[in-house]
Structures are given as structure tokens and as C-alpha cells.
């Protein structure tokens, strides 16, 4: 409990978001994988900014680079991957810091909630141990204290404390996801990155887990970067929403607006693919988008979306698109918003 | 959307269709072979192994041409007992005065022949059992697998020497060794092939074949076997490696034809003639080193084949 009030205190002390050092400041991030057949650019210049307590959703299809982005923020990509640009976590430059400093920053400053269903938990360690592990790594506490805190975290995410003695395979998908959340909160980070955290769950459980994340993050003033391919999920949980395509952001703005009145044709297609429960307008057949996601190693010229875009113009093949203003606090990378 | 009427196009004449089908199959096989070779070439260790094998087999086959067989005759031994290497005898002589270089060269023939024959026997049994167990299922498969697992757990050398000792009194020694190695080596392959058979049998085209009335034998030989073959090939190569080792071991322990030269018998004689205490390293090194090289080459090739046929392993070898 002391943690939560300390967090709030810290947030309030920093004053209005725009004056404080942002929790996460990404500038021109580029990630290129070195494959056996040449380089594959997965992220091609992304700028993001998150202040304390802010929630930002990042949407896109598989292969658009969003998971790569998430891993890049804590330098978790495989050795040999080329990463350039700037990633500032509470003002510290992550991409160039020493290994020792990086290990101290990981989990303590920013943690990740992975998709727990896919073996993100070690199958041969008990849950309690896995939650207590980062606490023991980053703080000088006894094992007993760390396990005590692990039990507390379990209750905060809605699981009974005796579950600490269970193994991952004994829990359901939803329970495992709650464990991932408890684990992510263990060192009271300033930033949590949720990478497809609810994707493999069925709808009811998904709603519960999203609710949990939203509440915990608001209570503690943690910045949340939520990554998903499901726009409806993101719009329900995040205040702002960014859409990613072919390694770049194509739209960013307030979540509700981006979801209901998308500025970019791709966002429109994404939004239409996921009908919102309770919204009669989207109850009609969800529309898919033809074509396949582009091959990152062979991107089309001009706007990378133009081959699949339903409103493409001849200009789209040649113009270099950028995130132009498309409304109040909104930007979209579409020629329709190109300033003249 | 309009639909174009589709139907089977009338065949030109049966003979021409058959000829073109055969040509297609042949082309496909050639392309598959070329693709296989391309993938194999990328396994550097496998290429080294292959080159080594080609050299060794070449030497073994051409031994009668490049050397004088009479030098193997104990009664015509040209040198003195356990001479150290010199310009006359590059690898010295054994305890009867024969050139070790010559012995090593000729020893390759027996070692390779026994190794390959024993492996063929083991692979034959193993493939038969494996496919049968995978194909028939039920209690029959259970029984076969019980027996197979029993053979796998049993210590190979113990069973081999027991077999060799017991049948060695009745059969010529080379045959004894081959049978002993064959019977102790088939089980691992059988298990692998059964697993692969089960995987193949799950595929739809086998169901189709059955629906068309294919009998058991036809299914097993025409459908399962060709798909299981790549795995069998990789497994066979690795088995030859252990068969050559097994031959040497059995020869060292006293089995095998003492009249014939093999690397194992050379080492056995080196041991019993006191070469070690004499310090005759030239007697010890060549045959053992030869075994090492042959086994290593077969192992490298086998691992490379595994990597080619199982892409998951490709980065690992």
C-alpha cells in the first residue's frame, strides 16, 4: 500500500505532464533484423511519448513491427539486431547505457506483460518464485520479504495467495495473465508495456483482465503502453491510440476518436474488423481487408499501404507520407491530410 | 462472378499420357535431388565428412591396384619385428614384420564391408519392425514396441559378445560379427521409423489410397516407405558409424577372423603382442586413427543429413 501512495506522490510532484520529463520518450526508433537473405527493417522510424499515468495503445496487424518495438524498448532483441534512434526511459538513454545499468533499469523502471499463454512463464518454477525473482534481483530484501510481497501482489490481481505454490501449467489462461501482471508490478515500475496481453483469452476473461490492468495502472500512476491487434480492446482501455503499419506509425490521436472516426484508411479497416459489442452500427458484417501485410524486406514505394488502400490515388505511389496533422491532437500519414 | 465449366480434359492417348506422367515424375525427382544437394552443400561439416568418405572408400576399393597384397602374408613378411617408422616402412612394422601402412590400407576393406553389411541387416530389421508397428497398431504394435524398447535398454556390447560367443562356435567369424552387430543395432531405428510412420499415416493421401482399395503391403511399400526413406537414410549413415566401431570392438575382444586383416584385429594383436609396453606407437596409432576418421566422417554425414531433412535442426549442427 505504501507503494501506491508513493507513486501518486511522485506523479503529482512532477506537475503537468507536458512540463515533466516523460516516462517514455522514443525518437526515431529504427530496428533492422539481419537475416540470412539480407536486412529486414521491422521498425522504420517511430516517435512516441508517454507521461506518467498516461495510457497509449499501439495497434496493427501481425508483422507490422509492434512486438519488435516493445522488445526494443528494453533492448531485448537478439544479438545482431540493429537498433538506432533514441529511447529515453525517465530521461535515461536506454540504447546506449551500460549493461549493468540496463539490468538495473529492466523491470525496475519498465516491465513487460507478455502473452502468458505462450510459455512466457518458466514451466518448472513455482509462481511465487517467479514473481519474487525480480524483487530479489533489484532490491536488497530477504527471501521471506520478497515472497511476502509476491503473495500481496497475487491478491492485488485477484488471485488467492496460496497460488504462489502452484506451477504455471496448473493455472488457466486468465489466471496466468494475472500472474504476468502481478509479476510486472513487482518492482513498482514507472512504465508497463503490455504486449498482446489479452489476445489468447476468451472475451469474458479478456474484459476482466483489461479492467484489472486499467485499475492498477490508474491507482499507481504507471504509464501504460498497450500493444494489440484488437482496436476495440485498446480503445476501451487507453486514452490515446496509435496505429502502426509496415514499421511506421500511420495514425495517432485520442482513442475514441481514432476508433470511431479513423483518419487513416488502414485504421478504418482495422476498426471495421472488430465490431464493438453493443454498437448497432458495427453489428453488420465485419469487413476484412484484402491482400497480405507487406513484406518488410520489399516494401512498395510511396505510401506502403497504397496497394491495399480502398481510396488510393495515383499520388500515393510516389509521395513520401509523414504524420501530418489531421484534427485536434491528431495526426495521420495519409496524402489526404498533406499540407499544401 | 461467372464460372467457367470445368471437367476432365480428354486424354490424347493412353500411351502418351503415361509417358508424360513418367517424365513429370522424373523431372520432379531430379529437381528434388538438386534441392537436396543444395541444402546439403550448406552443411560444411557434412561436406568434409563426405569428402573424407569418398577418399577412404576410394582407397579401400583400389587397394589391390595401388599396393602389393603379398605383403600381408605372414610368411612373406618383409621387415623385422616391430620396426619403428623409416623411409622403407613409413608406418613401421607389426610383430610379424609386415608393413603397418599396408595393413592399415587393407584393413579398411574388412572394416567397411562388415560395418556396411551389419548396418544393412540392422536397418532391414528395424525398418520392417518400425513400419509394421506404426501401420498395424493395436496390441501387435504394442508387442513390437515392447520388444524394441527392451532391445534399446539392453547394453549393446553385453548382448553382442554374448551372441558372438554363442554363435561363434557354429558360424564363420565374419558372419558372427555381422549378425551380432545387426541384432544389437536395429532397435533405435525401429523406434524412429515407427514414429515417422505414424506421422506419415496421418496424412490424407494414405486414407485415399486405402479407400481405393490399397492393401497393407501396397500401402506400406508404396506410400509409407518412400516418405520414411529420408529419415532412414540419415539413420543408416549414423548406424554405419557405430557398426564400424562395434566391429573394431568385437575384433579387439577376440571375435572376427584372425586370418583377415581389420583395424580391430590389428589393435587386438598390438595389445597381445606387447606393443604397448614396447612403446610401438606406430602400431597403435594408424589403425585406431583410421577407425576414428571413418566413424567421424560417417557421423558428420549423418548429422548433416539429419539437418537437411529436419529443418528445425539446421542451425544446430
Amino acid at each position: 500500500m505504501a507503494d501506491v501512495s508513493a507513486q501518486r506522490h511522485r506523479t503529482e510532484r512532477h506537475g503537468a505532464p507536458s512540463e515533466a520529463v516523460p516516462v517514455l520518450d522514443v525518437q526515431g526508433l529504427e530496428v533492422t533484423y539481419r537475416g540470412s537473405r539480407g536486412d529486414v527493417p521491422a521498425v522504420r522510424g517511430v516517435d512516441l511519448r508517454l507521461d506518467a499515468g498516461e495510457t497509449l495503445g499501439l495497434a496493427g496487424e501481425s508483422g507490422c513491427g509492434k512486438s519488435t518495438l516493445a522488445l526494443a524498448l528494453l533492448r531485448l532483441l537478439p544479438v545482431g539486431t540493429q537498433v538506432s534512434g533514441k529511447v529515453l526511459l525517465d530521461g535515461e538513454e536506454v540504447l546506449t547505457m551500460s549493461w549493468g545499468r540496463l539490468r538495473a533499469v529492466r523491470w525496475a523502471r519498465g516491465s513487460i506483460v507478455f502473452q502468458g499463454a505462450m510459455h512466457a512463464l518458466n514451466p518448472v518454477h513455482r509462481i511465487g518464485r517467479q514473481i519474487a525473482e525480480p524483487i530479489l534481483v533489484h532490491e536488497k530484501v530477504t527471501e521471506a520479504e520478497a515472497y511476502e510481497r509476491a503473495n500481496e501482489l497475487l491478491t492485488q490481481v485477484g488471485l488467492p495467495a496460496w497460488r504462489a505454490r502452484s506451477y504455471p501449467h496448473e493455472l488457466s489462461g486468465g489466471q496466468r495473465q494475472r500472474v504476468m501482471i502481478a509479476m510486472a508490478l513487482a518492482c513498482s515500475p514507472r512504465l508497463i508495456i503490455a504486449d498482446e496481453a489479452t489476445t489468447a483469452l476468451d472475451v469474458m476473461i479478456q474484459a476482466q483482465v483489461l479492467d484489472l490492468i486499467g485499475t492498477l495502472v490508474a491507482e499507481r500512476g504507471i504509464a501504460l503502453l498497450m500493444i494489440s491487434h484488437d482496436l476495440s480492446v485498446l480503445s476501451a482501455t487507453c486514452r490515446r491510440l496509435a496505429v502502426m503499419y509496415a514499421g511506421r506509425l500511420v495514425e495517432i490521436g485520442p482513442a475514441h476518436e481514432v476508433f470511431r472516426e479513423p483518419a487513416h484508411p488502414y485504421s478504418e479497416a482495422l476498426a471495421a474488423a472488430f465490431p464493438s459489442v453493443g454498437d448497432p452500427a458495427s453489428r453488420g458484417r465485419p469487413r476484412g481487408l484484402g491482400g497480405d501485410p507487406p513484406d518488410p524486406a520489399a516494401l512498395p514505394g510511396g505510401c506502403p499501404f497504397h496497394p491495399r488502400c480502398p481510396v488510393a490515388q495515383p499520388r500515393c505511389e510516389t509521395v513520401t507520407v509523414d504524420l501530418w496533422p489531421a484534427g485536434v491532437d491528431r495526426r495521420a500519414a495519409c496524402v489526404r491530410y498533406e499540407p499544401h | 462472378m461467372t464460372t467457367t465449366p470445368s471437367g476432365p480434359s480428354a486424354p490424347a492417348e493412353p500411351g502418351a499420357q503415361l509417358a508424360s506422367a513418367r517424365a513429370v515424375v522424373w523431372q520432379r525427382r531430379k529437381a528434388a535431388l538438386a534441392a537436396f544437394w543444395r541444402d546439403y552443400r550448406r552443411q560444411r561439416a557434412g561436406v568434409i565428412g563426405l569428402v573424407g568418405l569418398v577418399l577412404i572408400v576410394g582407397l579401400a576399393v583400389t587397394a589391390p591396384v595401388i599396393s602389393d597384397e603379398s605383403g600381408l602374408d605372414v610368411t612373406q613378411a618383409p621387415g623385422e619385428r616391430l620396426e619403428a617408422p623409416s623411409s622403407r616402412f613409413l608406418l613401421g612394422t607389426d610383430e610379424t614384420g609386415r608393413s603397418i601402412l599396408l595393413l592399415t590400407l587393407w584393413g579398411s576393406r574388412i572394416s567397411l564391408v562388415v560395418g556396411v553389411t551389419a548396418t544393412l541387416l540392422a536397418m532391414g530389421i528395424g525398418t520392417l519392425v518400425g513400419i509394421a508397428a506404426g501401420h498395424f497398431g493395436g496390441w501387435f504394435s504394442g508387442l513390437l514396441m515392447r520388444i524394441t524398447d527392451w532391445f534399446i535398454v539392453l547394453p549393446r556390447l553385453v548382448l553382442a559378445i554374448a551372441l558372438a560367443a554363442v554363435i561363434g562356435t557354429r558360424l564363420p567369424s565374419i558372419t558372427t560379427v555381422i549378425i551380432a552387430i545387426g541384432i544389437t543395432s536395429w532397435a533405435g531405428t525401429a523406434r524412429l521409423i515407427r514414429a515417422q510412420t505414424l506421422a506419415v499415416e496421418g496424412r490424407p493421401y494414405l486414407e485415399r489410397a486405402r479407400a481405393l482399395g490399397a492393401g497393407h503391403w501396397h500401402q506400406m511399400t508404396r506410400h509409407v516407405l518412400p516418405n520414411v526413406m529420408p529419415l532412414v537414410l540419415a539413420s543408416t549413415t549414423l548406424e554405419v558409424a557405430s557398426a564400424v566401431l562395434a566391429e573394431a570392438t568385437l575384433a579387439f575382444l577376440g571375435f572376427g577372423d584372425s586370418g583377415q586383416v581389420s583395424w580391430g584385429t590389428m589393435l587386438s594383436r598390438a595389445n597381445s603382442s606387447g606393443a604397448i609396453t614396447y612403446g610401438a606407437w606406430w602400431y597403435l596409432l594408424p589403425p585406431g586413427f583410421a577407425i576414428l576418421v571413418v566413424v567421424l566422417c560417417f557421423t558428420l554425414c549423418g548429422r548433416a543429413l539429419e539437418a537437411v531433412f529436419n529443418p528445425r535442426l539446421r542451425g544446430q549442427i
Partner: protein
């Protein structure tokens, strides 16, 4: 409850395997093995009456089925017959030689396992590095070398040329009695055989552990571990290795037969007075009761060891424990 079921099925399986061993031993050594009387009287001129008496003494005049019953009774009571060459009960011979083999094999396994598993984990973790390539090369080479040849080389280099260790045997006859001189002498004799046996077994462990670690490498829980701020070595040892050990242990136990083979060859080359040497000595004549006895003993040990491993494995893998 589920565990008792598992235990019962494993013990039942072991029992069936042991029964198969006993039956096949009879088949091999009595039926295929030929007439023991011929073997015993090969070099000794005997009269037909003496042979008949011998036949009766050995119970060979009874019909085969009765002989089989006698044999079963013998196996169950620990009477494995008498060795032709030593005129001593096979069971007592085995009991005499067992400690030496346990000493040699035990030491070699401990060394090979601790070194091999560590190097294998390290090599797999740094897959593709120079360390990895060298270790794989070394292991493949050691695996390809005949055990007995390595033994002879080791003797020639360290005993014959360098004179650091004795050439063979377990104890020098001139060693003074008393615990310490005897123990030190045995240890002195132990070095080269252990070195030889370890070399080959080690290679297998390296390769098996390495491939198990490689199988774990793509798993997500390792990314989670790294994200928590653990050092690379910690991720490997705390997370990857425990998971990789599970399939490794299974494979290691499956290859126990190779260890037995290695023991036989090593003891033969070094004249180490254990069960392996006994098996080799049984090949003379051939000494069928002794050969049968060692066959039964080795096969039974390996089957029991594998059964024990299967049962213990259930406790090691939490996913199976509760199934």
C-alpha cells in the same frame, strides 16, 4: 493415487523386461550355447562314462523343460551356476568383482556428468561461437574414437613413456597393508582408467545437453527472464538449464548401455579387476555360466536403473507430477 498407478505400471514393465532377460539368457546360453560337457572336456581326455557322470551332475540328462525349471529356480535363489574356469560359484565371483566396477564406473560417471553437462550447456548457449564449435568438434572426435584404443594410447603416453601411472591392475602387489597406503595405491591405479572412461561418456553428455539447451533457446520464458534484469549466466543457469535437464536425464539413462560397454572395454585394457574384465574372461572357452551370469547382471542393472530413472523423473518434472 495417480502416482501409485504410474508406479505400478513402471514396476510391471520392469518385471516384464526382467522376465524377458531371464528367458533370453536361457535361450542364448543353454540352447544356442551348445553342450557344456563338450566345452568342459575339450582339452581333457575323458571316457564316455565320465562324460555321462558329468552330464548327470550338471543336470543335463533331464528334459529341456525341467532344465528350464531348474534354471529359473537357480536365478530366483541367486544360484547362477559354477564358472568352468574358476570352479567358483558365479554369484560369488560377481560379488567379488562388483566393488571395483562400482568404483571405476561411479567415478567416471560423476566426472563425465558434471563436466559434460556444464560444457554442453555453455556450448549450446553460445551456439555458433568458437567455443561451441571447438567443443562439438572435440566431443564428436572423442565419441568416434574406440574406447579401448583411447585406453591403450593413454597407457602408452602416461604409463609407458611418462611413467607417471601404473600400466594396469588395481593394486600393486608390493603395496604395504594398511588403509592409507592401500587406498592411495588404488587411487593411483584409478586415474588412467577413469580418464579413459570419462573421455567417451563425457562426449555423449556434452552433445545431449547441448541439443537440449538449443531446444529451449527459442522459448518465451527466457525473454521474460532477461527482461527482469537477470545476467545472461543467470538466465542460462536458473531458467534454461533446469528445463533442459529434463530431456537430458532421460536420454542419459537410455544410454547407460554404452556406459556398461565402456566399462567392459576399459577394464579389459587396464586389467582392472571388475565385472567388465570378468565378462571378458568369460569369453574364454567360452565359460558359459560366467557369461550368462554377467549378462544377467548387466542387463538387470540397466533395466532397474532405467525404471528408477522413470520413477524419479516424475518428481523432477512438475508438469508430469500432477498429471
Amino acid at each position: 493415487m495417480a502416482f501409485l498407478h504410474y508406479l505400478a505400471s513402471k514396476l510391471g514393465g520392469a518385471a516384464i523386461s526382467l522376465v524377458m532377460v531371464v528367458f533370453s539368457a536361457f535361450f542364448l546360453f543353454r540352447i544356442l550355447g551348445g553342450d557344456p560337457v563338450d566345452a568342459l572336456t575339450r582339452d581333457v581326455p575323458t571316457t564316455p562314462q565320465e562324460r555321462a557322470a558329468l552330464r548327470e551332475k550338471l543336470g543335463l540328462d533331464k528334459p529341456l523343460s525341467l532344465q528350464f525349471v531348474d534354471y529359473l529356480k537357480g536365478v530366483l535363489t541367486g544360484d547362477l551356476g559354477e564358472s568352468y574356469q574358476y570352479q567358483q560359484s558365479v554369484t560369488s565371483l560377481i560379488a567379488e568383482r562388483l566393488p571395483a566396477t562400482v568404483l571405476l564406473t561411479g567415478s567416471a560417471l560423476v566426472l563425465a556428468a558434471s563436466l559434460g553437462l556444464w560444457i554442453g550447456a555453455r556450448a549450446g548457449w553460445r551456439h555458433g561461437s568458437r567455443f561451441d564449435k571447438i567443443q562439438v568438434g572435440v566431443s564428436l572426435t572423442l565419441w568416434s574414437a574406440p574406447t579401448f584404443w583411447l585406453g591403450m594410447l593413454v597407457i602408452m603416453v602416461f604409463a609407458r613413456y611418462l611413467g607417471l601411472f601404473p600400466i594396469n591392475g588395481m593394486i600393486a602387489p608390493r603395496t604395504p597393508p594398511g588403509f592409507w597406503p592401500q587406498t592411495l595405491d588404488i587411487l593411483h591405479h584409478l586415474v588412467l582408467p577413469v580418464l579413459t572412461m570419462t573421455a567417451v561418456v563425457y562426449a555423449q553428455y556434452v552433445l545431449v545437453m547441448r541439443s537440449s539447451i538449443l531446444d529451449e533457446m527459442g522459448n518465451d520464458y527466457l525473454v521474460t527472464a532477461r527482461a527482469k534484469g537477470l545476467r545472461d549466466v543467470q538466465v542460462r543457469n536458473r531458467h534454461a538449464v533446469p528445463n533442459a535437464l529434463l530431456p537430458t536425464v532421460t536420454l542419459v539413462f537410455l544410454q547407460l548401455g554404452n556406459v556398461v560397454g565402456g566399462a567392459i572395454l576399459t577394464e579389459t585394457v587396464f586389467s582392472w579387476p571388475g565385472l567388465g574384465l570378468l565378462a571378458y574372461q568369460a569369453l574364454r572357452i567360452p565359460d558359459l555360466p560366467l557369461l550368462q551370469g554377467t549378462f544377467l547382471f548387466f542387463s538387470t542393472s540397466v533395466i532397474l536403473a532405467n525404471t528408477a530413472a522413470d520413477i524419479v523423473y516424475r518428481f523432477l518434472d512438475p508438469r508430469v507430477r500432477h498429471a
